[in-house]
Amino acid sequence: MEILRAENLCKIYGKSGTKVVALNNVNLMVEKGEFIAIVGASGSGKSTLLHILGGVDEPTSGKVVLNGKDIYSLNDEEQSKLRRREIGLIYQFYNLIPTLNVRENILLPIKLDNGKYDINYFNELVDMLDLNNRITHLPSELSGGQQQRVAIARTLMSKPSVLLADEPTGNLDSQNSKEIMKLLTRANKIYHQTIIMVTHDKVLATYADRIITIEDGKIVDDKKVMHHENN
């Protein structure tokens, strides 16, 4: 079942002389429950694509359809609501709110939506991400890996249609990176969470079901990954 579709996406920075084409007519279709890795060299346009898919950066042309809605045809209020409810973003630098504790950070998107949250689901997530002992801590009191786990919990809490991860392990050591990847895979498997992850690490990309390679703003390769049982 199609959940996300990008049609003829173009993104151009600058004007005439200093013009940089970050995305050049990108078309992409994502099925529900897919775990996609977007790989490419630095400056290839992979992060730009992710941000545009997540509704935080506007394309110069083209459209992004999420659950049948063209997200860039929506007004700010509707777009914000869509980001709150249907998109989850994970960044390389965690981007937690420093003045909120772990619990408040995780619940923030739901609270912004004035919504009620499922306490069992919250406990389950906290459990899964091993944050039980850190629930009242401020971000500054956590390690990098723990902060990223909070960021994942925050994203999963609102059960988004798609989870977009921008180099989620870019700032972590290899041990923590593996753990984060395992968590993302578990979320994908347990909750059938659609995940699109940007990485330049080809090994980490193999955790995904599908790898899209991007070069100079164009998709140059799009292939399925065969996983062994023990993965």
Binding site: H51, D76, S80, R83, T99, L108, P109
Partner: protein, 846 residues
């Protein structure tokens, strides 16, 4: 909303250091703006209280009305109270007049007219009782304290004519003396006011005056004019204002209420106040705007995260406004409390200093409406100043804030600045380019500095305007005046006074009028008596005063005698002149060495002889100076004494005694101290039987003088606040700017730029900033100063600019800017020194 609130709360809770700057700027804004409101209310209330005590709480007295009109006015809905008062008697008393030292209260024959008025009740509307009680029947009177003389038995329990004195009152509206009102043609209307009041019924058919108070002070002039007209009054236009012949307005009170008809001075003062308020508000707004912009710039990333998590623009604006509200709720009361405390201290000090001088104690007052207006004004300033950066922030998209791509906005700069390069070398050019590239940061500091300089110069000029409006700092002439009778102790007393006065100016004057015969054809003076004699006032001045007077009059030769005005075409080329002087009943030829004529085309140009401009002196003394419409001869004391020696043979003993009584005028800055010393001295000599009249007019000026001092103090303290705000602002910006430029400096270091070069680059950046500040602020301030000088010109009667160019303020400003720039250089260099290259570069990449 709950989440928004909790986000706002959390931010404020965990960022107290950053928030402190905003809180401080709001507190200082509140102090600045609220103090203006507090000061205005307090001064206004003080003026009202003083006017009520000194001149009465009534608004107008309608003259020559009848009983029916009294009834009509009583029924007027706008009127609060009408007190009828009627003149019933006039006592002429020789004895009394001799001892009363009130100018013009005696007639030409030396008789004193005491007017008796009757009132039914409400005496307190017209007078304030200081001793005894109010009259209870038509045989009792209360008299003004100016008449009370214990040594002459004019006091409570004693009689004047058939009236028994039962009380002494402090006059309001100068009831004890004659009032003069100048007409446009230069002549005077005399208004008589009561000196004694008795109790009696006001009956139908009586001609009465109506002391009237209106319910509201709003639009008083129109109400008064309407009633004056309906009571049959007619008006003249005097100095552009309507003046009804039947209405004596209590101007002091009406003006204290802030009501004025065409008083340019009042209007100008209001304009000044508004200018200051606008400049203060603008300055405060800039400060708050800066602190908000800086705070938001530091939070861009956080706001971006919230946006990416789905917070809408509206939610973010709500959150930021909520934060502003919380900060305002905390800061405004603190500012108000500070303002009150500061005001209370100032008021306490003023009351302490002025304890024995001011009529009423100054009370710290804030009208509820002023409080509300100032709080609204403060809130508006805060919200306007904070809303702009918030709105700006709204435009930034989530991705930009997460990337912080626009955080350190760098503009493209022109390629070359040859003049800068020539003057300051390549480092200078680099520094100048930095300034151009980081325009917004530099502009903010520039605006803060410019605002401070303009404010400082404006306030300094404003203080001068106020001071000159009170006549305090510009040739204050009215001072201490003493008259002592001629007896053996006089010389000793004069010596004693001289030793107290010290080096300050002291003038001894003797004076008497004689009738001179002068050739008719040469004279334009038209008050010639039938037999062709002219009353000419002869003045003897001590040598120093005579020489000073001569100098001012522009005469060079020694031993001249000055013949003062109105004697045109008088032959002053002869060495001696013989005058025919008419003494009591003898005509005698008197030879006086040489007379120089000084003719003034403008008769109002008066050279002060002692300390007074006699023109300003109607109320204070009776007989010490020449009247401005009569001619006078001014001579050295030696010549005067010779003249009196001749007169001795022909005049009465009393005449000679009066002619030898000495008038001493003192001009001294230490008049308060001198007042105490002189009173002590005079008490001693009075006991010895010497008649001494003493008036210290400076004490009357002491109040405005102290008020000026206070205003000066308050304004300078406000200025210190402003400068603190400015410094906080600049340090704030410097901190942010340096934090944001750390990588730039680190990179420059890593590519081989020496610390010395970086320091010199920073130094030049700040120096350029200083130069730019002065280039902008000095012309701007000059514009404001010229405007203030123009306005000040309007408020002085002569049209002469009352204030001089505030050169001192300019020098202080330049020194101030240089010092601030120096501090900025030191601060930036010390900050940069602490930074490590790798740390700074790493910080940027995290």
């Amino acid at each position: 909303m709950k989440t928004i609130r909790s986000l706002a709360f959390n931010y404020l809770k965990y960022n107290s250091k950053k928030v402190r700057v905003i809180v401080l700027s709001i507190i200082l804004t509140t102090i600045l703006l609220f103090t203006v409101s507090l000061g205005t209310s307090t001064v206004r209330q003080y003026k009202i209280d003083t006017a009520k005590t000194e001149f009465g709480s009534y608004h107008v007295t309608f003259r020559d009305t009848n009983y029916d009109q009294y009834q009509d006015l009583k029924n007027n809905k706008a009127v609060k109270k009408v007190v009828p008062i009627q003149t019933i008697d006039k006592l002429s008393d020789d004895e009394l007049g001799k001892y009363v030292n009130i100018k013009n209260i005696v007639d030409s024959e030396g008789k004193f007219d005491l007017r008796i008025q009757k009132m039914e009740s409400d005496f307190e509307e017209v007078v304030t009782l200081v001793k005894g009680r109010y009259p209870q029947n038509d045989h009792e009177i209360i008299i003004t304290r100016m008449l009370e003389r214990n040594d002459l038995a004019i006091t409570i329990g004693k009689k004047i004519s058939d009236y028994t004195i039962v009380g002494i009152f402090q006059e309001k509206n100068a009831q004890a003396v004659y009032n003069y009102q100048q007409k446009e043609d230069g002549s005077f209307d005399t208004i008589f006011t009561p000196a004694a009041i008795t109790k009696g019924n006001i009956d139908n058919g009586d001609n009465i005056d109506l002391v009237t108070t209106y319910k509201s002070s709003y639009n008083l002039y129109n109400k008064i004019y309407k009633d004056a007209q309906s009571l049959g009054g007619t008006y003249e236009i005097i100095y552009g204002s309507k003046r009804y012949n039947n209405a004596d307005i209590n101007f002091q009170l009406v003006v204290a209420y802030g009501q004025y008809e065409d008083f340019i001075f009042q209007r100008t003062m209001y304009i000044f106040m508004i200018i200051i308020l606008i400049i203060l508000s603008a300055f405060s707004a800039i400060t708050i705007y800066n602190s908000f912009t800086i705070s938001l710039q530091e939070r861009k990333k956080q706001l971006g995260i919230l946006r990416s998590l789905g917070a809408s623009k509206r939610q973010l604006i709500k959150m930021l406004l909520y934060e502003t509200l919380i900060l305002s709720i905390i800061s405004i009361p603190i500012g108000i409390i500070f303002s009150f405390s500061f005001g209370s201290i100032i008021i306490f000090v003023i009351n302490k200093i002025l304890e024995n001088i001011i009529v009423n104690k100054v009370k710290l007052v804030v009208y509820p409406i002023f409080l509300i207006i100032s709080v609204i004004f403060i809130l508006l300033t805060i919200f306007l100043a904070s809303f702009l950066p918030i709105i700006k922030m709204r435009k930034i998209s989530a991705i930009e804030t997460i990337r912080e791509s626009k955080d350190y906005k760098v503009l493209r700069s022109k390629e070359d600045y040859p003049i800068i390069k020539h003057l300051f070398g390549s480092t200078g050019e680099f520094a100048y380019k930095n300034m151009k590239r980081n325009k917004s940061k530099f502009t903010t500091v520039l605006v803060s500095l410019i605002a401070s300089v303009v404010l400082f110069i404006t306030i300094s000029t404003f203080i001068d305007v106020i001071a000159s409006s009170y006549g305090v700092d510009n040739g204050r002439e009215a001072d201490i005046h003493i008259v002592i009778s001629d007896n053996e102790a006089a010389t000793e007393l004069v010596q004693n006074i001289k030793s107290l006065v010290g080096k300050d100016r002291m003038t001894i004057i003797k004076e008497r009028q004689f009738d001179f015969k002068i050739d008719n054809d040469n004279i334009i003076y038209d008050n010639v008596s039938n037999d062709g004699y002219y009353g000419i006032e002869i003045f003897g001045l001590d040598d120093a005063s005579y020489n000073r007077y001569k100098k001012v009059a522009g005469l060079k030769n020694d031993n001249q005698i000055l013949l003062y005005n109105y004697l045109e075409n008088y032959d002053d080329n002869t060495d001696t002149n013989t005058y025919e002087v008419f003494f009591k009943d003898t005509i005698k030829d008197i030879e006086i060495c040489r007379v120089d004529r000084k003719f003034y085309p403008d008769h109002q140009t008066i050279i002060p002889m002692g300390c007074y401009y006699h023109f300003n002196n109607f109320y204070i003394t009776y007989d010490n100076e020449l009247d401005w419409w009569s001619p006078a001869i001014i001579m050295r004391m030696e010549d005067y004494d010779n003249f009196i020696n001749v007169a001795k043979e022909y005049e009465t003993e009393q005449f000679i005694k009066d002619a030898n009584s000495q008038k001493i005028d003192i001009y001294s800055e230490k008049f308060v101290k001198l007042d105490k010393q002189l009173n002590k001295l005079f008490a001693e000599y009075r006991e010895k039987g010497m008649d001494i009249y003493y008036d210290n007019a400076s004490l009357e000026e002491y109040e405005p003088y102290m008020i000026i001092k206070t205003i000066r103090l308050v304004l300078y303290i406000a200025l210190i606040f402003v400068i603190i705000v400015c410094l906080i602002n600049i340090i704030n910006i410097l901190n942010t700017s340096i934090a944001l430029r750390e990588t730039e400096f680190a990179v420059l270091k890593s590519v081989g730029m020496s610390n010395k070069k970086i320091n010199s680059m920073l130094r030049l950046e700040q120096i350029f900033l200083g130069i730019k500040t002065l280039l902008w602020s000095l012309p701007l301030a000059t514009g404001v100063v010229l405007m203030l000088m123009k306005l000040s010109k309007e408020i002085t009667e002569s049209g002469k600019v009352a204030i001089s160019f505030p050169l001192r303020a300019y020098i202080i400003s330049v020194v101030g800017v240089v010092s601030i720039i120096f501090i900025m250089i030191k601060y930036s260099i010390s900050k940069i020194k602490k930074n490590n290259i790798i740390d700074s570069i790493r910080k940027q990449s995290i």
